[in-house]
Every structure is written in structure tokens, then in C-alpha cells.
């Protein structure tokens, strides 16, 4: 899980052009939106693309988005769960 979280942080920085951040600046449980990293709705769409491109995971229900994209850890858990299924 730790390895996946570290990889995800790098992928998020790259995909979302967060060049002002380093992976260690992003907490595993830190909220990604609003009061956390301050991501916006376009970033949310880019995260969906990232899951599809890098992990071949298509979000089946968009309503699950807020729960899945709560933090890097929650995304990693979703990926692990999806890959195990």
C-alpha cells in the first residue's frame, strides 16, 4: 500500500501539473479538495482520466467520486480493491 501511495502522489503531481508540490508535501490522509490541496472540478476529471489511463479502472458510478477521491490513501484503497476483484 505504501508503495502505491508513493507512486500515486507522483502521478497526481504530474497529471495535475502541481509543480509547486513535492510528493512529501501531500499527506496520505490529507483532503485533496477544498481545504486540503485545493483541487477543483477539472482536477477531479483529470483524476478519473488518471485512474483509467494508469490503472485501467473506469469509475462505474460518478456518485462514488467524492468518497474515492477524498485523499491519496482512499484512491489507493479503491485501486487495490478494484485490482483484487
Amino acid at each position: 500500500m505504501e508503495e502505491l501511495i508513493a507512486k500515486l502522489k507522483n502521478q497526481i503531481i504530474e497529471a495535475l501539473n502541481l509543480k509547486h508540490l513535492k510528493p512529501e508535501d501531500i499527506g496520505d490522509d490529507q483532503p485533496l479538495f477544498v481545504e486540503g490541496l485545493g483541487l477543483d472540478s477539472i482536477d477531479a476529471l483529470e483524476l478519473i482520466v488518471l485512474l483509467q489511463q494508469q490503472y485501467n479502472i473506469k469509475l462505474s458510478d460518478p456518485k462514488d467520486g467524492p468518497k474515492i477521491f477524498k485523499s491519496v490513501k482512499s484512491i489507493a484503497e479503491y485501486i487495490q480493491k478494484h485490482q483484487a476483484a
Binding site: 509543480k19 509547486h20 477539472i42 476529471l45 489511463q53
Partner: protein, 208 residues
Amino acid sequence: MIFINQYCHLQNRSFARQGNRVFTFASGTLDDFMEEAFRWLSLSYPKFYKMDHLSKMGFLASEMLLKDMPLLPRYLPDQVALVLSNAASSLDTDLHFAESMKTIPSPALFVYTLPNIVAGEICIRQGITGENAFFVFPEFDAVHMADYVSLVMESEKTLACIGGWIEVMGDHHDVFLYLAEKERGDTGVEHTAEQLHKIYKSSALWKN
């Protein structure tokens, strides 16, 4: 009467302000130049990194134009207008977006596939909410720019206007911005098509 009080030109990976070259970064890619200029201006604005080339260039030029003299202490947000123009519209980004469609289209690129997004980025950054317009011409049209900015500034509400040309296509970039105001500044000249044409040509950085 309207006056051109400030102007800046970004061309050939260099910045000139009031006709004087103040920054050059010739090595590396265009992205390298823009990021180096961003650092040189000592800016902290994470959204810059998400912008397309057109918006980055417009953003950098507006920062250079208004360096050390922000508009809002002097004007209310709706007293400042913005009139921009270029030739390539958003074609540079349109092509990148079309390329991304071969796999999964990028939503972050898609939002920049309109030329007037750069106007929005400048307005958000500078906090201005006045009249704005974006025109597409084959080349910088000093006559139209002078006419339209003058028309916008006929309104009692509009006291200042950022006008200019933000052209970006591939590695080619030519960005000329000026600040027109109803009060004459120390180095202000009358806002006419002739003056605009003269300033645009004389501040060009194609040579040297």
C-alpha cells in the same frame, strides 16, 4: 483624453517594459522560459502551472505590465476593462487537445480551447471585473485596438483598460500589452492608433 501609461512586450523569449529589455532566457524550451520568467517575477500562484501557453504568456505579460503598480488600490474592480486580440485564437491548445483525443481527452486541456480564457485568467489574477473583449485579426491592428479601447473608455464607469495582442502558436510568441488610463502618467502618451503602432513596433524584440 486617454493615455498609454505603461506597456510591455514579450517576444523571442525576452521581456521589455517601456521599451527596455528587462529579462531574457534563451536556453531550453518555451516552457522553461515561461517558468523561469515566473520565478524571476517572484510570483506565487500555483494555478500558473495548469495554464496553457496562451494563458501563461498573457499572465506573465500582465504581471510585467502591472509590476509594482497593481490596479486595485487605484480603481474599483469594475472600473478596469480588458481588450485583447491575436491571430491564432486558441489553435495552439486546440491542436494539443486534438492530439490528446487519440487516447483519453484531457479535461484540463479542453478548458483552454477558447482564446478568451486568457482574459479570464488575467481578470481573476488582477481582480478586475470590467468590460472585456477578445478579437481575432491576421496581425496586430492598432487602428481597431485604439478605436475599441476608446469606445470602451467613453463609459464613465471605465477608468482604465488593459489592451493588446497575445499571439502564441508553437514556439512563436508575440505578446504586447498596454495600460490605457484617463489620467496621464509620468511617461504617458496619447492613446491613438499611430502611437500604438509606433510603440508596438519600437518595443519589438526580434533583433539583438
